[in-house]
Amino acid sequence: MAALRVENLEKELGSQKTKILKGLSFSVEEGEFVSLVGKSGSGKSTLLYILSTLDWPTRGQVLFWDKDITKMSSQELHSLRNQHIGFVFQFHYLLSELSAMDNVLMPARKAGLYEQKKEFAEHVLESVGLKDRMNHKPGELSGGQCQRVAIARSLIMQPKFIFADEPTGSLDSANSAMVFDIFQKINKEMKTTIVMVTHDPDLAQATDRQILLSDGQLVT
């Protein structure tokens, strides 16, 4: 059974009902590291947001372990996002008032696991090389460090999936390499399924599989 399956997925946007995604079907196996690639406007970010339950398909199905997200209740969706999905965006989107540690623990707070997850949060921050920065606020960290905090946040609930939208897009090459290494480490050590949008062909080549989108359709 595929961890994530997409069937005849379509997405229309705007009053003109412009078709962004045109009947996509594919699946992602558990523990796979997949990159979504394609030109700007090809629909890869829209696809990622639908896969990660942040957006809604116009038609078609998105199934997590054969359970269709379009048929899930709002409660089930919130729980799925909180327990099983981690997000990493192009910008880190950290809460500026909180320390790195508190940012990482935000999903755990929602799940009522703040105390239980403290030790793990330290471990995760250590694994992304920020042990000595855990009490720093985002304003006191570099862009690359913030993005690593965002990755640590996405890992705190030990999710089955991580969806990343150009996570290295705003970083220099050194930081990009470091962040990508972390993703590879997570994928290998924690068996986390990762779906990542990227423009960088080298990074895409380093993933298990590339899904190429062009004008809302799958090319490979």
Partner: protein
């Protein structure tokens, strides 16, 4: 969400402090104005219920009736032509059966005291200046049960009016003006020009200049002699066990009598109406302050919602629900409302105590008032401040909760 709400508030200390200040001032204004008006109203009501009778029975004033005149004067004529149609008020109204009323009260357990009263006017001249005195003649032992006049006596004793005839009690202000002391003799001129000497047996001071200059007390018989109205009674003063029941009791008695029966609140309806106006003013002033504070909260939270769009998006992506987002912003409003309200209550309490007794000045310059402490006013102030904070934060919170993460991400919020 309380943790994040407090972090948000602390992150913008200046704005939070200004909003807090608005709520604090609004709460304090409400409590202080309520306390001040309350003190004034309590004093006035105390004057009405303790300084005067709870119920007054007076003869109904009758007007001259043309048809009644024609029936009496020209019973054999059908049509009477008048050069001037008879009109105007009949001669001084007196209660026809005062004894009947007093007997009736003996059987009424709610009546604590009652006395017949004869009210008249006397004039004192001193160095070319005339003082007009409103004289209350009554049974002294009943009068001290009906009003608190006995506690206002600063020299002499009210019950000395019972020791023989010709005794009078005057106000401190008048005594000062006349340079008279206890046991001195003053001469009053009656309305028909007679001069009657009286011995001052007591001096009262109730803090009201007008009353101390223009009121005097004597026994019923002496007043009737002054008014040349032996046996006549212009009023019956009654004190009952619970002054709040006065109007219903007065209505019951009125229904079975031709005399006019009025309770203290009916007699002072104008003044009580003024209290309602005062209450309205208080609510308006506080309302405006709270409205401004509410707008402050609304504006700040609205701004924060716009500034925190990306935070909302990321929280939603972590599984936080729309209810959590509402909670996040409402908690900030309620926190400001609660802290501002509590600080307002505490400061008002301390300031009220620090002010202590104060004088109203003017004609009530002798009255010492104290800002009223009323638990319900404090509770009301807290409820208002938190109500305003809740309402002002609800609208931005609701708007924030409706934002979906994808809308924010698509709009490129930084």
């Amino acid at each position: 969400m309380l943790f994040l709400a407090i972090k948000h508030l602390l992150a913008r200390k200046k704005q939070s402090l200004v909003t807090l200040l608005g709520i604090f001032i609004g709460t304090m204004a409400f409590i202080m104005i309520s306390g001040f008006f309350g003190a004034q109203q309590d004093y006035m009501i105390d004057m009405m219920v303790s300084g005067d009778a709870h119920i007054k029975i007076q003869a109904r004033e009758r007007l001259i009736d043309r048809q009644e005149m024609e029936r009496v004067l020209f019973p054999d004529y059908k049509n009477v032509m008048w050069d001037r149609v008879p009109a105007g008020r009949r001669s001084a109204a007196n209660i026809e059966n005062p004894r009947g009323w007093l007997e009736k009260f003996k059987t009424q357990p709610e009546v604590l005291a009652a006395t017949s009263v004869y009210g008249t006017t006397g004039i004192i001249s001193n160095n070319g200046k005339n003082y007009s005195l409103s004289i209350t003649g009554s049974d002294p032992s009943e009068q001290i049960k009906i009003t608190n006049i006995n506690s206002k006596i600063v020299k002499g004793a009210y019950l000395d009016l019972e020791k023989g005839t010709g005794g009078i009690i005057i106000g401190q202000e008048l005594a000062n003006d006349l340079a008279k002391e206890i046991n001195d003799i003053i001469t009053l001129r009656t309305v028909d020009g007679r001069a009657v000497p009286f011995k001052i047996v007591g001096i009262f001071s109730n803090g009201e200049k007008r009353s101390e200059l223009g009121s005097a007390y004597m026994s019923l018989t002496d007043a009737q002699k002054m008014g040349n109205a032996a046996g006549k009674v212009t009023q019956i003063s009654v004190k009952i066990d619970n002054f709040r029941n006065a109007s219903s009791l007065a209505d019951q008695w009125k229904a079975v009598s031709y005399d006019s029966v009025q309770s203290w609140d009916q007699l002072n309806s104008g003044l009580l109406q003024m209290f309602s106006t005062q209450d309205m003013t208080q609510y308006c002033v506080t309302g405006v302050i709270m409205l401004v504070a509410g707008f402050g909260i609304y504006n700040i939270l609205n701004m924060v919602v716009n500034q925190k769009r990306k935070d909302i998006a990321i929280l939603r992506s972590m599984g936080y629900e729309s209810g959590d987002i509402i909670q996040l912003f409402i908690l900030q409003g309620l926190f400001l409302g609660l802290v501002g309200g509590l600080l307002g209550c505490l400061t008002s309490y301390l300031v009220s105590h620090a002010i202590g007794d104060f004088s109203m000045g003017g004609p009530m310059r002798g009255a010492k008032l104290h800002i009223t402490f009323n638990f319900y006013t404090y509770l009301q102030a807290l409820l208002i401040s938190n109500g305003v904070a809740f309402l002002a934060s609800y609208l931005p919170s609701r708007a924030a909760s409706k934002l979906t993460p994808i809308e924010i991400i698509r709009s490129g919020a930084e």
